[in-house]
């Protein structure tokens, strides 16, 4: 399969070699990665807790989403870029690492959950924008989202133990 040639090739890209061979690059990029993930998870939780009716109940959902989610996406972009750099430095090992695979799988699940929420429940947001307790569909999506992000953090930390 072509992917099997892709990972070793990625490892030999100049930037991947630079991250692997430097004593300082990996920890610095990893620090930015942790900071970015922390911001993604925390800001996602702010919106999820609102959808669950557990926080910011007096604030319209659309307004809260508008003021929080731009920071989520900015942090997500930073987490993806730094994550890719860390991944490239030992691509073959990461691809074969169970917690890393579970982390990627859970991220895909979080993404799909978000898409379903966006195109199904969120379409009718005008009806429950100011509701302290949004409908079941929205609460379910928020619960799944929080569970996914908790799992992503757990798997991410586990990668650090299984790979070294």
């Amino acid at each position: 399969m072509i992917l099997q040639d892709l990972w070793p090739a990625l490892e030999h890209m100049p930037f991947a070699l630079a991250v692997r061979q430097s004593d300082l690059l990996f920890p610095w990029i990893e620090s930015v990665h942790v900071l970015a993930i922390v911001l993604v998870v925390g800001t996602v939780f702010i919106v999820d807790l609102r959808l669950l009716g557990l926080a910011s109940r007096g604030r319209p959902v659309t307004q809260l989403a508008r003021e929080v989610l731009p920071y989520t996406w900015a942090a997500y972009g930073l987490a993806a870029c730094t994550g890719f750099l860390l991944f490239s430095s030992s691509a073959v090992s990461y691809v074969n690492d169970l917690p890393f695979r579970l982390k990627m799988l859970t991220m895909a699940m979080a993404g799909m959950n978000m898409l379903v929420f966006h195109f199904v429940s969120y379409r009718g947001v005008a009806r429950w924008d100011r509701s302290a307790r949004p409908p079941l569909g929205a609460r379910t999506a928020a619960g799944i989202s929080m569970a996914c992000w908790v799992a992503i953090v757990v798997f991410g930390r586990w990668v650090g133990f299984s790979l070294n």
């Binding site: 920890p27 990893e30 620090s31 942790v34 900071l35 993930i37 922390v38 911001l39 998870v41 925390g42 800001t43 939780f45 702010i46 926080a55 910011s56 604030r59 003021e67 929080v68 920071y71 908790v150 953090v153 757990v154 930390r157 586990w158 650090g160 133990f161």
Partner: protein
Amino acid sequence: MSALDSLTPFINWLAHTRVSQTIGDIAWLTPAVQSVHILAIAVVMSGVLMLDLRLLSVLGRDQTTAQFAGRYLPWVWWSLLILLATGAILIVSEPKRSLENPVFVLKMGLLLIASALALLVQQTLHRDQLYWEAPARRLAARAVALSSLAVWACIVFAGRWIAYSQG
């Protein structure tokens, strides 16, 4: 380093207690506690981010800073409690890793500064709900918000660097 050296007998005693060795023996416990620690810092960081962005007047100008503080600071304080509890477990399981580590000491110093800034915002708002709305305090609000964000970011960085700065 002399202040750190004086801790050595305590660190040795702690490392040999049964509770320390028990935590160390359960392989999954350390990553599990670290995961809870990271989730709690996620709540603290994003709560602080929202409050500081309001102090900077970047968002939420339809609400007062006091309303933002009321929404976010309780989550910050409770999560900080979880951070201290999980942090304490991690220290007990591997006392040398943190207590003999200058980056850990730096992290604790930064934590005091960051907490003091959050407390300052809370206490001023407690006395006067519109304290930070005054135009004359625009510059002070900006200084408090930017230093708070910078210090919390440094705390996250220091947390990761504890793993890399062991002698």
